[in-house]
C-alpha cells in the first residue's frame, strides 16, 4: 500500500464531503432540532408570565376565596412588582351557582379571564377543578394547586388543634442522596440523571460517528459506481488504498461533526447555569474511566465502519444504499434502548449475555461501566471479543470490497460472496 495515495484519497474524500451542502445543513440543523425539541419547551414553561393574568374563582364552599386572593396576589409578583394574577369572585352571595358558572365560561371563551378555579365539597372532601380553554397550563395549575393545598391543610390543622409551624417542621421532606462507592475510597455523590446522561452521551457519540461516516461511505461508493468513476479510480490505486483512504477521510468527517457538536453542546449547557453545572459535574465523573470509554468507542467504531464498507460495497444504487444504511442504523440504535435496563439493574443475566454480542458490546459496556464497574475479567473478555470480531469484519470487508466495487449492474449472490472470502 502506498501511503501517499491513501493520504490523497483521504484528503479528497474529506474536503469533498465537508464542503457539501448536505453536510453543512445536517451539521447545523441536527443540534438546532435537538435544542428546539427538548430544551426550549422546558425552558419557556419555567418562565414567569410577562403580564397580569385574570383568573375567575367560584368557591362553593365559601371558605377560601379571600385567603386565596390574598396569598396569591401577595406572593406571585411579576418582575415589575405588579401581581402575576388577579382573582375575581364569580360567586358573590347574590348570584346563583349555575349563572356564575355560565358567566365564567362565557368570559373565559371571550378571553376576559384565563380560566376558572372551581372549589367544591364532595362528601366532606374538598375538590378543585380548573376550567379553561387551555386547561393544561402547567404554570397556573402548579401555582394555584400549591396555594390551595396549603390553605386546605392549614384549615384542617386548625380544626384538629395542631400548630401549623410545628407541623411544617415535623413533616419536612427527607431526600435520599445517592453516593457511589469507588475503589479510591473517596465517596462521590452521583445523581441518577448524571449517570444516565454520561452513558447515553457516549453511546450517542459512537452512534453519530458511525452514522455520519457510514452513510457518506455508502453514498460515495454508490456515486463512484453509478457515475463509472470506479474504473478510473481502480486504475490509479489499489482497492485497499481506496478503502483505507475513504475510511480515514470520512472518519475525519465524522470527528469534525462530533467536535463541533460537543463544543456547541457544552456552550449551550454552560449558558444555562443549573443544567450546565450538572453536565460539567458528570464530565468530571467520566474523566477517570475515559480511557476505557475511548477504547470501546474506538473498537465499536472500526467494527461498524467495516460493516458499512463490506455491505456498502455490494450496493449498486441509491435505493439499496438507503435500505442498507437504515438496517445498520437499527443495529446501532438498538443497544441504546436495551441499555435502559442496564441503568436500572446492571446485574440482569440477559444483559450480561448481550454484552458479548459484538453489535452491542461497546454500548453495553459503556453503560455498565458508569452504573456498576464490571469485573476486570469481564472488561478483558469484552475487549477480546471486540478485537476478534473487529479483525474478522475488517478482513471480510477488505475481501468483499476488492471484488464488489467493480460490480456495477448486478448484485452478487451469497454463494459468490463466500467464494470471494475464500480466494487468496
Amino acid at each position: 500500500m502506498n501511503r501517499g495515495r491513501i493520504g490523497a484519497i483521504a484528503r479528497w474524500e474529506y474536503l469533498q464531503k465537508v464542503r457539501s451542502k448536505g453536510f453543512i445543513i445536517s451539521l447545523l440543523l441536527t443540534p438546532l432540532i435537538v435544542i428546539l425539541s427538548t430544551v426550549l419547551p422546558a425552558y419557556f414553561a419555567d418562565q414567569p408570565p410577562d403580564s397580569t393574568v385574570a383568573i375567575g374563582v367560584i368557591d362553593r364552599t365559601g371558605l377560601y376565596f379571600n385567603e386565596l386572593k390574598q396569598s396569591v396576589e401577595a406572593n406571585d409578583k411579576l418582575p415589575d412588582g405588579n401581581p402575576a394574577y388577579l382573582l375575581a369572585n364569580y360567586l358573590p352571595g347574590s348570584r346563583p351557582y349555575d349563572s356564575a358558572l355560565a358567566l365564567a365560561d362565557r368570559d373565559a371563551l371571550a378571553g376576559k379571564i384565563e380560566g376558572v378555579i372551581l372549589l367544591w365539597d364532595s362528601a366532606g372532601t374538598p375538590r378543585v377543578d380548573y376550567r379553561s380553554i387551555s386547561p393544561n397550563n402547567v404554570r397556573v395549575i402548579n401555582n394555584f394547586g400549591r396555594s390551595i393545598r396549603k390553605l386546605i391543610t392549614g384549615r384542617r390543622l386548625m380544626a384538629a388543634g395542631i400548630d401549623t409551624a410545628l407541623y411544617s417542621r415535623i413533616s419536612k421532606d427527607i431526600d435520599v442522596e445517592p453516593v457511589k462507592i469507588s475503589k479510591s475510597g473517596k465517596a462521590e455523590s452521583t445523581g441518577f440523571l448524571q449517570t444516565f446522561f454520561t452513558a447515553y452521551a457516549c453511546c450517542f457519540l459512537l452512534m453519530f460517528l458511525v452514522l455520519t461516516t457510514g452513510q457518506s461511505l455508502v453514498r460515495s461508493l454508490v456515486e463512484e459506481k453509478t457515475n463509472r468513476i470506479m474504473e478510473l479510480l481502480i486504475g490509479n490505486c489499489t482497492p485497499q488504498e481506496l478503502m483505507w483512504g475513504k475510511l480515514i477521510g470520512l472518519s475525519g468527517l465524522g470527528l469534525t461533526q462530533m467536535v463541533i457538536w460537543v463544543i456547541l453542546g457544552l456552550g449551550f449547557a454552560t449558558s444555562f447555569a443549573t443544567q450546565g453545572a450538572g453536565v460539567i459535574a458528570s464530565l468530571k465523573g467520566v474523566y477517570a474511566i475515559l480511557p476505557l470509554m475511548l477504547t470501546y468507542i474506538f473498537l465499536g467504531y472500526i467494527f461498524y465502519a467495516a460493516l458499512f464498507i463490506g455491505i456498502g460495497s455490494l450496493v449498486t444504487n441509491e435505493q439499496e444504499a438507503q435500505v442498507t444504511t437504515s438496517v445498520l442504523t437499527m443495529a446501532l440504535v438498538l443497544p441504546i434502548f436495551v441499555a435502559l435496563g442496564v441503568i436500572q439493574n446492571p446485574e440482569m443475566p440477559y444483559l450480561k449475555i448481550l454484552t458479548y454480542i459484538p453489535l452491542f458490546t461497546p454500548s453495553m459496556m459503556m453503560i455498565r461501566a458508569v452504573t456498576k464497574m464490571p469485573s476486570v475479567g469481564e472488561i478483558i473478555g469484552s475487549i477480546g471479543v471486540m478485537v476478534l470480531a473487529t479483525s474478522l469484519v475488517v478482513w471480510a470487508a477488505g475481501k468483499i470490497f476488492r471484488v464488489a466495487i467493480l460490480l456495477y449492474g448486478k448484485r452478487p449472490s451469497f454463494r459468490e460472496i463466500i467464494r470471494w472470502l475464500r480466494t487468496e
Binding site: 502506498n2 501517499g4 495515495r5 490523497a8 484519497i9 479528497w12 469533498q16 457539501s20 456515486e223 457515475n227 463509472r228 468513476i229 474504473e231 478510473l232 481502480i234 486504475g235 490509479n236 490505486c237 467493480l406 456495477y408
Partner: protein
Amino acid sequence: MISIEHLDKQFASVHAVNDISLQAQRGEIFGLLGPNGAGKSTTIRMINNIIRPDSGTILYDGLPFSDSIRNRIGYLPEERGLYQKARILETIVYFARLKNLSNAEARKRAEMWLLRFNLAGSERRRVEELSKGNQQKVQIIIALIHEPDYLILDEPASGLDPVNQETLRDIVDEQRAAGRTILYSTHQMELAERLCNRIALINRGKVVLSGTVDQVRDGHAGNVVRVEFQGDGSFLRTLPQVLDADMDANYAELRLLPDVSINDLLPHLIDRIRISKIERVRPSLKSIFIDTVATVEREEKMLEAERRPKSGPYNNDRFREGAR
C-alpha cells in the same frame, strides 16, 4: 514495450481471454480491435492490474507489474465518469496526485492541457456543468497528465466531435513520437487504419488476426474490386462471379471468384448501373473485420450443429477450432 504472453482468464461461464499473446512496442500505436464482448476490456483490465489473469504473463519493458509501474500507466477506461459535483481543476489535480505528482506540478500541467483542449477558464467550474464531450476531454487529460510510459486508451474518440477527434489524433500521435507505448482499443476501423502501426483483431477471447495494417490488408488481398456507381446496385451481390459484397449506397467492394477479371465483370454491370470508377483494391480493415468475425461465427455454427448429438451444448474446444 508491453508484452503479453499466453494470457488467460475464465469467468464463471465465459472464457473471456483465451491464450492471448501480443507485443506493443515503444513509439508505436497498437490497435486492439474486435467486436463487443470480444475480450478487449478484460485484457485491458488485466494490463492495468485491476483483475488478475488465471495464467500468462504481462511484462512492462521486461518487468512484471509493480507499484512504480502503476504510476507509469495512463488509462482511459471505456466505462468512465467523474465526480459530478467536484470542480474541474481539483479533479485533475486529485488524479495527478494519485500518480505521485506534486500539487504545484499537477496544477501547472493541468492548466496547460485545459488550454490545449479549449477549456481554459473552466478551472473552477463543476464537472456537471460541462458537456459530455468536454468531460471526456478532462478524462483524457487525466490519462496523460503524468506523462505515462504506457498509454492505454479504450475507445478514446467515441463521443467527441470531428474537430476534437482531430485534436485527439494529433495528441496520440505526439505521444507516439515521444516514445510512449500506446494501446488503442476501438471499433472504428477507418480510424485504426489511419492511426495504428500494428493491430490485433480479437474475437471470442482469441487473437484472430495480427500484424502491421499493411500486412493484414495484403494477407487478405484476394480478388477484390471496388465499384463506384449511381443507380440500384443491389443485384451486384447476386451475380454468379461475386463471392461476397460489402455494399454502400454508391460504392461496393466485391470479392470475386479467383479467375474472374474486371473485363469479365463489366458486361454484367454496364447496362444496369452508371459506373464512375472501378478498380482492383486491397480490402479495408473494416471488411476484413466483418469477414473474419462472420467466418468464425459461420464455422462455429456448423461445428456446433455437427457436434450437438454427441456432446453437450457447450464446449470450450469450439473456440480453438473455430478460430482461423
